[in-house]
Symmetry: C2
Subunit: 407 residues, 2 copies
């Protein structure tokens, strides 16, 4: 079987960390100087691996095999969240690259090819999954015209121009080219670590259902407005979130998660009864029936709240994605590979985070594999995975790629 080069995998990952190094992690936002340098370095590495490499018109890096036979697409992303981890993204790109090298070097796989993609802006500095959506024809020019960096407002068009990508064609998926897409990633949670496991075989990427909860009360003086008379919008939202906190555990799935990530009271002054309050609320699950049940419960709790008052609460749906099921054949390839290199140390699990694979799954069989995150930490510069786990993951990944090519 094709064999990865453990030292080369670790060296590539460590080299990528030097682009925008921050403490033990990286600060490499999409189209920053460091990010562009990392993309150009990756083009060179892909070319050294015998792939035809280029950066396309949305910033994704592609390394395409010239082999004539069956091909698999692999990849992940290169940019990071701000001041975040070194492996979130690069791990999957380097695994794909090393699998391409290993398979390219193995005479038994001379007819097979592994393509590698580093999808641009998976981390959403300028938009939502720009690279993979562009590849699938789901990113209209008008959306690019309108997109701006969410932190500094810089237009995406300006960033593309400064990157030398204005007018460059955007890569499009070639129907029938691939047997499937395989992506490796750090888990970003602690399920593997806390169970002493090494490999996660992703069954589905969960859907995210997002809501804006708004209460409209009456802004008033916090000293002169009696408790009986006041209509405190903040209190209405606090009460509703409290009811969700009590009720959701009783009806949620085993892996459901729900989060109120932002609460805003207006005007937000210590001596003013809030006249308006807003909460951003979301839940995630891989099971459509569970998603429906959670939403029905949310609506029921809001109805209850509106019956008891004091302020009317409305719920606006901000997003309702569909769970992306991973291909059973690719799950089996991963399982078979894991049984060789990490026997008894793999488990099937959903992905609570979104990944480019959820878009690729729309047009081809897609699979994902996780390696453990130390302490479950993610989106922070302390994110890490042990060298042993990185290397073990690369072995399982490459083996699964080989199996998928021959399936």
């Amino acid at each position: 079987m094709p064999e990865i080069d453990a030292a080369r995998v670790l060296a590539d990952l460590r080299k990528l960390r030097t682009f925008g190094e921050y403490k033990t992690g990286v600060h490499r936002p999409t189209f920053s100087k460091e990010d562009l340098a990392a993309r150009h370095w990756m083009v060179g590495r892909m070319q050294e691996a015998g792939l035809e490499a280029r950066i396309d018109g949305i910033g994704s890096v592609f390394g395409l095999s010239q082999a004539a036979g069956p091909k698999l697409l692999t990849g992940s992303h290169l940019e990071s969240q701000n001041y975040a981890g070194w492996l979130d993204g690069p791990l999957g790109v380097v695994y794909g690259l090393d699998a391409a090298r290993a398979i390219g070097a193995n005479p038994a796989f001379a007819d097979c090819g592994v393509d590698v993609a580093a999808w641009c802006d998976e981390e959403g500095h300028f938009g939502s999954f720009l690279g993979s959506r562009s590849y699938l024809g789901l990113l209209p020019e008008e959306e690019i015209d309108a997109a701006r960096n969410r932190y500094d407002g810089r237009p995406l068009r300006d960033a593309l121009k400064e990157a030398g990508l204005a007018g460059v064609s955007r890569e499009q998926v070639q129907p029938g080219r691939y047997k499937g897409y395989l992506e490796a990633h750090i888990e970003q949670g602690d399920s593997l670590e806390s169970s002493g496991l090494k490999i996660g075989i992703v069954t589905a990427i969960v859907a995210i259902w997002q809501y804006r909860i708004t209460a409209v009360g009456e802004q008033n003086h916090a000293g002169t407005t009696s408790m009986k008379r006041r209509r405190d919008a903040g209190l209405s939202v606090v009460r509703l979130l409290g009811e969700i906190d009590r009720r959701f555990p009783e009806i949620a799935g085993a892996r459901s998660v729900w989060t109120a990530g932002r609460i805003t009271l207006e005007p937000g002054a210590p001596s003013i009864v809030p006249g308006r309050a807003e909460a951003l609320f979301q839940f995630r699950d891989a099971d459509p029936a569970t998603l429906d049940r959670l939403q029905a419960e949310l609506y029921r709790l809001v109805e209850d709240a509106n019956r008891s008052g004091p302020c009317p609460i409305t719920v606006e749906i901000l997003g309702q994605s569909t769970p992306a099921l991973m291909d059973e054949g690719l799950q089996q390839a991963l399982e078979a590979a894991a049984s060789v290199h990490a026997a008894g140390l793999a488990t099937r699990m959903p992905s609570g985070a979104g990944h480019d694979a959820q878009y690729l799954a729309r047009v081809m069989p897609a699979g994902m594999m996780f390696v453990p995150s130390i302490g479950g930490i993610s989106h922070h510069w302390t994110e890490n995975t042990s060298d042993e786990d990185i290397v073990l993951g690369a072995r399982v990944f490459c083996d699964a790629v080989a199996r998928a090519l021959r399936a």
Copy 2:
């Protein structure tokens, strides 16, 4: 008895509304062009009333009687909250001015004097009760040096200089000059209106006890962090505020109020479990025992929360004022006056809002009188009081001033 001139009272209040008129209210922040014009106009009105008038070095307007006998100090403030009501402040200044005129015109009170003060910045654009604290010697030069406009950052020193007040002396209370201080104000709540009453005789100005409640959890990915593993600081604060909401009504006083005016989650993103959460919380009451009881309960609920987890919560005291008791003699003067002009329509009540009278009460007997606020609305341009109630209040106020001078 001295008699106010109803038409003159209404005309003065309507004239004051023209300085910074906004819809049916005013926008007249401290030391704005409109605010300074109002202060200078008031100096002229005081002089016409026979008072020796000037604006002092902190911006307060004083009109001092030259009478030889007993004197009472009256007043309130002229600046407004932003885009707020026309009577909040001016009502008390105009009542004082008309009482000064009425008493000055009454031969039976030839030896008596009524002084009028418009305390600067009661509304706190640059600081906290600057005018009355300056008058009591509680505003050091260093605090003036450091004070800035809370909305635009303009230094108070610059504002004073542009107002022509740099180097002007600050008026100081003259020990023994006054029999007491009497201030009229709109209620800013709906107790009077909802009870069909016309006059509030203030028993005490409530104390405000303010706290910063902080929960420190662990910022994490809202998709990959299981419910069991996460330490959601926002949820900890929501749960605590829910407990306060359940428990405080059982132990609060009849007129206690409590408010969470601001909740902040960090980083405040929809897909990130909040790692830190903060709430600004306050309660108010006129009774020290009730204040102590509410604080003990707050601490007990925080201890409970810290025992059940998941995030440690700390409470920082931001302020603990003392209730300011109003003088019993002045309350009796107001009650006697009300029994003549508004028989059966007066009630004793605490003030839930802070007023300059709480500072004046430190050095002389102080009293306050309320007139009804339509719909209880305050700090909004729709704040209003009917002309009939304004005139009735002026009659009661002037009568009470006369009684207090003769007491």
